[in-house]
Symmetry: C2
Subunit: 342 residues, 2 copies
């Protein structure tokens, strides 16, 4: 089934989306529905000038701007974002991809595609590099003031995403907390720990901020406020480190020459940490897939996002997540009734 | 007035503390009270074998271990940590420095030194490198579940620390939040924003995780849970980046040779980001100074921590913080009474 791509979202729309869709179709064999203004999308396709195999344009006369209030997508039912979500709802697309307004994309996905049974709050899951591979962190910004039961839902969603999409065997799930004996987490994490321990996952207990990058945990669960700070700060920290090293390299002719020699090493490093390799973050817990990219996504990032969405579709996560959460709810109901007065 | 140094705290105690104290005394001219087991501290001093000018040993027969419950310091009134705090309380030391059990150091400082008037919750303030200089972030782990009024207290403490100790003119104070339109912070930050806007500081509004490293804000205020995750994760991220770059440099003979040439640049970079340069983080909001170092503090880190504590003492922050918070409380009381029924 094809992937619905919001051609009008992102800083480089529609060009980056159209080029990314072309690459995904031509090189990865993914069928794409390019959703947006027929004229502008068509003009971009003409500019590329090659085959349109596996690409279909679906007209949407409205757009949601990057700085618009996310709820405006409720009103704009013919916006490219809303139409993408409707195509997934109607079974015409497997999943949607957008580099547009993140909040609006989340609203559209929840509104039209709906939540998986048992999921109260869909969550954004980001992949971080670590020493040995990748760490999945969720939520990174879809929710704030999460309650312990929400964190358990995040854990279940992250477990299946790591297992089925990233390909991790028996993913180790950790609860993000602070290690200081003095506090040992906050009100929410103290309760969430109990919830997670009883969820039948490979729960390894509390982890700290440093563990995200250590390789000792595969799925890190946290409130979206904390996860968003973690995501934004570590991106900026990595950029700062690279910037500072570059600055130091320019100081003497010796280090400038050395800097030229080490360029291939820096290029490799960049490839290992480049966000465009991951393409986009999934909004887990909605029926069908929804991938949301950086506003500054280029064609390569869009292509990778479309590829991820296609793999995601094949993994059929919604059913697995729904079944697990339904089972947990049933167990709790049984425990509650057996604990009641006879 | 001298600085009280916990000679028994940290992974390399008493050696690192004694050597650091010696350097601070001999090279920075700071008077030091070395608090700990008389025999062991004396043996270390003998090993250095140089002058003991400006160094006095104060005996303390107990110690609080790194992994002990922080509250044990209440019972261990003759532990090196407790004695340090008592020396500050009794006016025999200006401030205390420890690389020992962080939680226990905080308990000791609050218990014996007491909080500055108007401060409900003392906070740990960490300095992060940014593109142009330094960003102060507080709280990084002394408190969880902070309420909006606590965040305002953090802002006042951070403002004066940045102004009087770091030397920033009119420090820009930001509230750590998440930028996503969809959420715009959580319950606490939404209220805290109002509190901070009315605090008479140079408040620049909400900032995001990335701004900690951008140089666009001088003081970032957040709950200790979030701040601790930020601190731990960005330290680990920086280490990961350096480790990955090193790994890439070893791949070919070209990049290995280049790597040798660029060593001085890496050394400079390391100096700019090395935690031992900052030495320790202050616990702001207690009467007198309390600096808490990394457990793995070496002699250099201890020396710099002692130096910071000595500068901190000269800045007389407690009075300034207390006066400002008292003034804010008075203004609120006036507003509340004038808004009441006539």
């Amino acid at each position: 089934m094809p992937i619905a791509v919001d051609a009008m979202g992102g800083d480089f729309a529609p060009r980056a989306a159209v080029q990314g869709a072309f690459l995904a179709a031509a090189e990865d064999g993914v069928a794409v529905l390019l959703v947006g203004d027929r004229e502008r999308v068509g003009a971009e396709l003409d500019r590329i000038g090659l085959s349109r195999d596996r690409i279909e344009v679906v007209h949407a006369e409205e757009t949601v701007a990057m700085d618009e209030a996310p709820t405006s997508v409720r009103r704009k039912r013919r916006s490219s974002l809303a139409v993408c979500a409707q195509l997934v709802r109607d079974g015409r697309a497997e999943a949607m991809v957008s580099a547009g307004n993140t909040g609006a994309a989340m609203v559209a996905a929840k509104l039209y595609m709906g939540a998986v049974p048992g999921v109260d709050r869909p969550a954004l899951a980001a992949v971080f590099p670590n020493r040995r591979g990748r760490t999945l962190v969720l939520d990174v910004g879809a929710n704030v003031d999460s309650r312990p039961e929400h964190l358990r839902q995040f854990a279940v969603m992250g477990h299946f995403y790591a297992q089925e999409v990233i390909g991790t065997t028996r993913p180790r799930v950790g609860l993000l907390s602070i290690g200081e004996e003095y506090a040992k987490g906050n009100d929410v994490t103290r309760d969430a720990h109990r919830f997670l321990a009883a969820a039948g996952l490979n729960f390894i207990g509390n982890v700290e901020g440093r563990d995200v990058f250590s390789g000792g945990v595969d799925v890190v669960v946290c409130d979206g406020f904390v996860g968003n700070v973690l995501l934004k700060s570590s991106e900026a920290m990595a950029e700062l480190v690279v910037g500072m090293v570059r600055e130091e390299l320019m100081r003497t002719s010796r280090t400038r020459f050395g800097g030229w020699l080490v360029r291939p090493a820096f290029a490799n490093f960049k490839r290992r940490t480049d966000y465009t390799e991951y393409g986009a973050v999934p909004l887990l817990g909605v029926e069908g897939g929804c991938f949301i990219g950086h506003g500054r996504s280029n064609a390569k990032a869009m292509r990778n996002a479309i590829h991820s969405a296609s793999e995601f579709g094949r993994a059929e996560l919604s059913g697995k997540i729904g079944a697990k959460l339904t089972q947990l709810a049933a167990e709790e109901a049984r425990l509650a009734s057996s604990a009641g007065p006879v």
